[in-house]
């Protein structure tokens, strides 16, 4: 359809408002309450226009286009009306631009400038009303124009549902919960409200006084926390070499949204605690040395030990936290210089069962769909994923879908915060996922809800699964998994009769001794439902760390080169050898992490080269890990901060962090996205690719790493599914692999053509296998572990950023109210948690997030660390440890400070 605007004929779409049509065609209409994310509000009345045939001025954000409409966006009458609007808004608040943090970024200021208003015509002196109680956001009510954008953002975009309008008439103001100070409210400080606020009413507290917008350089890059891969802009003060603010970019996958860590956990790069110089252990102490000395010494020791004992005594760890280029560099060094395949990384400790399980069923372990697809599902089945804490931005999509009418089913042993938005919640016992899921599949078959056509056309053995789940009628399954029969029946009905089910899971599924079976059972369920190969459906594991997908893609694995080319294939080895200019590449797959660590105690692993892993804190059973590391002959650590692992190293090499070099990460939806250098690294810190190049050179091999991009190009020369991804192509927006040629646009959805990677899907038989260690009389509690909203990994980044540790300063042991009452434990009492492997002392958090008999804590704080307690028993296919289940006992040590909380807050007491 066509309309005429300011004499121009515009092609417009049905359903568009006049404002949207104008924006699409580059015609400026000022507005304050409208934002593309929050939609029309019709509150500020600044976007007034004249429409022929309509009486009076119209708000262009609320009038829909109609064929033939004739519109004027500028006239004396319009300007006069707009001037009055802005005049009144200016008069209604304390809009002191001079010292306001939003000066030059303020949309009200821009409107006043455009309309030529220097001072308001009216004088109203509203009271100063500043809420400074929150850690990261300052609210200045006197600068609020009541546009409602922050409320819409909080309730409709990130769906945290904290902000609302309170009071009436002239007293109307934005409030948190029931008018609590923001710092005392249920606000999780995601900062979406700040990003959407058009004035200085909401500002990033940490940024105040750190530089005007025009004084700061803007560098677009990728967030260094979690696998969502949010696109961010770093606001950099060049003079101080510091990031002073982070904002979300309005592109996929996050579309402007961020979580508290991504937006406010940025100062760690400038921490004085950073490693700045190479360190070599001399007389028992780590002492600073030059790079030449450190590299000569390291290369010399590695060469001497490998020459004497053979290449397989060397093992290396890449990392899910470092760039693709750096993981490739570690993998290439291990294979081309040392001639072993003993390289692995932390996917082993998290999502290896995903790949093993999905590869068995579909032929490939990758997530099938994009994050934004979540909004297109009519049922979301979330199991084993505490996404509001571990992957907050994914949770925004899930909550939004639920609010828009999708049915959200949450299955988790803990009553996690996401349950608040769920239509249905099932609380299965820890470690009973196979039983629960088989019971659901059984019930689906019993009622004929299976997608028979899909199963017949697209799976190899559709009759087997029906037989295999027969021993799991819901009545029997319920007895084992603890989910009521009626709840299981309802879930089966909802799933079985849905048009489009998106299954999302995370480490609650994989970090079990039966992790691969858990994943296979999820694949079975989705193949019975048949919602694969289409928008809004699929099986979508949420990858944990920022680049754990990329570390896998880059071949930091013992059995594949980059882009999953098998090391055992002589043709692949020959290709690599020719392109890399080396000979004798190893054909035998290397050791997985648990094997390489165990072999340290038998003398078969003598060297461990560890990049960005903090192995002591991340492996289960910390005492065992320490014993294994002590048994090594030579231990090298490359990292950005000193930690428990660097303390044990013979050589420590200072690495750069995410904003100190170029590179790229791959996110959980296979999207390769750029990182850009924004600040200079501290001291003499160097990128891992440079370290590997220098070590290779000293050991006789030129790895050809001259820059991050050169390293990427070196990888690309022998890559398959990522051969088409160049820095130039992902300059603005990332590309999703497979992207095999530089012409190819990338692949957002896998199996779109009904074909699984293995041809037809394969149902796999799975049966109940309890955790390796279950509670007994001596250790009566089940301990499960995971990640908190406020922290990441072993805390090196979040605990060195201002404010996150203030909000959540120490680890807490979550315990159920029933157990706590029985033991006389109150929130903040000091308790001792003991497993067969060790003891930690920490404070208690009495919460109904934990069911009776289950405790929970995280691994962020070395002072009270979950991995002192966890069990190293692992999944027999992937060697992924059972972090989610071990037996402990709990004893009260002392009373804590009395704790009173007036509101139930998310993710903290």
């Amino acid at each position: 359809m066509k309309i005429t605007m300011n004499g121009r004929i515009l092609e417009v779409q049905t359903g568009q408002t006049l404002l949207q049509a104008a924006r699409q065609h580059g015609i400026h209409i000022p507005t304050l309450c409208y934002h593309a994310h929050t939609g029309p509000a019709g509150k500020c009345r600044l976007c007034l226009v004249e429409v022929e045939g309509m009486r009076g001025l119209q708000t262009s954000c609320t009038v829909e286009v109609k064929d033939g409409l004739v519109v004027k966006t500028d006239s004396d009458a319009i300007r006069s009306a707009r001037r009055l609007v802005v005049d009144l808004l200016l008069a209604s608040g304390r809009h002191d631009c001079l010292a306001c943090e939003k000066n030059s970024d303020c949309e009200l200021q821009n409107a006043a400038y455009e309309l030529g208003i220097e001072r308001p015509s009216f004088t109203v002196e509203p009271a100063v009303d500043i809420d400074d109680s929150a850690e990261f956001v300052t609210r200045d009510n006197a600068k609020c124009i009541k546009c409602g954008r922050c409320i819409a953002g909080c309730t409709q975009v990130v769906c945290n549902e904290v902000l609302d309008f309170g009071f009436r008439g002239h007293d109307t103001k934005v409030i948190c919960d029931d008018d609590l100070p923001m710092g005392k409210s249920s606000c999780v400080q995601c900062g979406e409200c700040v990003q959407l606020c058009p004035t200085g009413a909401l500002v990033d507290k940490k940024t105040v006084g750190k530089g005007r917008s025009w004084q700061l350089d803007k560098v677009n890059t990728t967030c260094p926390y979690c696998g969502v891969g949010c696109q961010i802009t770093l606001h950099v003060d060049r003079a101080s070499n510091r990031v002073v603010r982070v904002t979300g970019r309005d592109i996929a996958p996050n579309n402007g949204m961020l979580c508290v860590k991504g937006r406010y956990g940025f100062e760690f790069h400038a921490s004085p605690k950073r490693l700045t110089h190479p360190l070599v252990r001399k007389d028992g102490k780590l002492v600073p040395v030059s790079w030449d000395e450190a590299l000569d010494y390291t290369a010399g020791r590695i060469k001497a030990i490998v020459d004497k004992h053979g290449p397989d005594v060397f093992s290396a760890l890449g990392s899910g936290r470092i760039t693709n280029e750096n993981n490739y560099a570690v993998a290439k060094f291990t294979r081309a210089v040392i001639k072993t395949n003993n390289v692995d990384h932390c996917a082993r400790t998290c999502h290896a069962p995903t790949v093993a399980g999905l590869a068995a069923a579909f032929g490939s372990g990758a997530a099938t769909n994009s994050i934004a697809d979540i909004l297109e599902a009519d049922v979301l089945f979330v199991i084993g994923s505490n996404m509001t804490e571990a992957h907050p931005v994914v949770s925004y999509y899930v909550k939004r879908a639920a609010k828009n009418g999708a049915t959200l089913i949450v299955v988790d042993p803990r009553k996690i915060d996401l349950v608040r938005w769920a239509s249905l919640y099932a609380q299965q016992r820890v470690g009973t996922d196979v039983v629960f899921l088989n019971g659901i599949i059984n019930e689906i078959f019993k009622n004929g809800w299976q997608n028979e056509a899909f199963m017949r056309a697209n799976t190899e053995n559709p009759d087997d699964i029906r037989e295999w789940v027969k021993p799991y009628p819901v009545e029997k399954a319920s007895e084992i998994c603890g989910v009521p029969v009626d709840t299981m029946k309802t879930i089966a009905r909802i799933l079985g009769t849905a048009k489009n089910v998106n299954i999302i899971y995370c480490l609650g599924i994989t970090e079990h001794t039966c992790g691969t079976d858990n994943v296979k059972t999820i694949a079975n369920l989705q193949m019975v439902l048949g919602h694969l190969g289409k928008r809004g459906g699929g099986v979508n594991p949420l990858r944990g760390q920022n680049n754990v997908q990329g570390a896998c893609d880059m071949g930091a694995l013992p059995n594949v080169y980059h882009t999953y080319q098998p090391v055992e294939d002589p043709k692949v080895a020959a290709k690599m050898a020719q392109c890399w200019g080396v000979s004798g590449l190893p054909i035998k797959p290397g050791y997985k992490i648990p094997t390489m660590m165990h072999k340290a105690t038998t003398g078969e692993t003598k060297i461990l080269f560890c990049v960005g892993d903090n192995t002591v804190q991340t492996e289960p059973d910390m005492n065992k890990t320490i014993k294994e590391i002590k048994a090594l002959e030579f231990f090298v650590v490359v990292d950005i901060f000193p930690n428990l692992t660097t303390e044990m190293a013979d050589v420590v090499l200072p690495d750069v962090c995410f904003n100190e070099d170029d590179g790229c990460y791959s996110n959980m939806e296979r999207r390769v996205q750029r990182l850009r250098k924004a600040v200079n690294p501290p001291g003499q810190a160097k990128p891992t690719w440079w370290i590997m190049q220098e070590l290779g050179k000293r050991m006789g091999v030129d790895l050809r790493f001259t820059s991050a991009e050169a390293t990427w190009e070196d990888m690309r020369r022998t890559a398959t599914s990522m051969a088409g991804i160049t820095y130039e192509r992902i300059e603005e927006l990332g590309l999703q692999w497979p992207c095999p040629t530089t012409d190819h646009p990338g692949t957002p959805i896998l199996h779109l053509h009904g074909k699984f990677t293995r041809g037809k899907g394969l149902f796999c038989r799975t049966d109940n296998r309890p955790p390796a260690e279950v509670p007994d009389a001596e250790y009566p509690f089940m301990l499960s572990t995971g990640r908190r909203l406020w922290h990441y990994h072993t805390g090196t980044q979040t605990r060195n950023s201002v404010g996150l540790e203030t909000i959540f300063p120490e680890e807490l042991l979550e315990i159920s109210p029933v157990d706590a009452a029985r033991m006389g434990i109150k929130t903040h009492d000091v308790v001792k948690a003991t497993s067969r492997r060790g003891t930690i002392t920490l404070k208690a958090w009495v919460t109904d997030r934990s069911p009776e008999g289950v405790c929970w804590c995280a691994f962020h704080f070395h002072e009270a660390h979950a991995n002192v307690l966890t069990n190293s028993a692992y999944d027999n296919v992937t060697e992924t440890p059972e972090y989610k289940a071990c037996a402990i006992k709990v004893e009260k040590v002392s009373d804590g400070v009395p704790f009173i909380q007036t509101v139930q807050r998310q993710a903290r007491p």
Binding site: A359, S364, G365, N559, Y564, P740, T741, R758, K760
Partner: protein, 152 residues
């Protein structure tokens, strides 16, 4: 040789290629071990028969009816080596073999177009190239699902 005769010759060549492709895929389907690969080859053999029927119809009609729209060519087939046929060949190689076959067909017609300036013949070659690129594109999409597994 008359113009009509030349066009017929090209059509005959194209039709014979489709027949040959049908025979090839049928033969391959009979020799492979994997049911999934067999299914793919059988399906490709049927497709080739459809192409043959289509070309036969076009041969007797006016050329303007033979409008195959150009498809985006992402050159996936070109990025893969021609796999060797083996009875136990994996599905990935079977699809790669087929898409390479379509790539070669498009190349053949494009090359032949270089030897004529006759507008009708150029139109015919353009259509044949587009037709083969369409087949290639379909197979390349399939290859994306099959050819790059994340397995470790």
């Amino acid at each position: 040789m008359s113009e009509k005769h030349t066009l017929d010759t090209i059509f005959d060549l194209a039709i014979s290629r489709e027949t040959a492709a049908n025979k090839l895929y049928t033969a391959l389907a009979g020799r492979v071990k994997s049911p999934a690969v067999k299914e793919i080859f059988e399906s490709l053999a049927k497709e080739e028969l459809k192409h043959k029927a289509l070309l036969s119809t076009l041969k007797t009609g006016p050329l303007t009816q033979a409008k195959f729209k150009p498809m985006a060519d992402y050159h996936v087939a070109e990025s893969e080596p021609l796999p060797e046929f083996k009875p136990d060949m994996p599905l990935r190689d079977a699809v790669a073999l087929a898409m390479k076959n379509e790539q070669q067909a498009a190349f053949l017609y494009r090359s032949m177009a270089g030897f004529t300036s006759d507008p009708d013949m150029l139109t015919l070659f353009e259509n044949l190239v587009n037709m083969e690129l369409g087949h290639k594109s379909t197979l390349e999409d399939l290859f994306l699902d099959i050819g790059y597994p994340e397995v470790f």
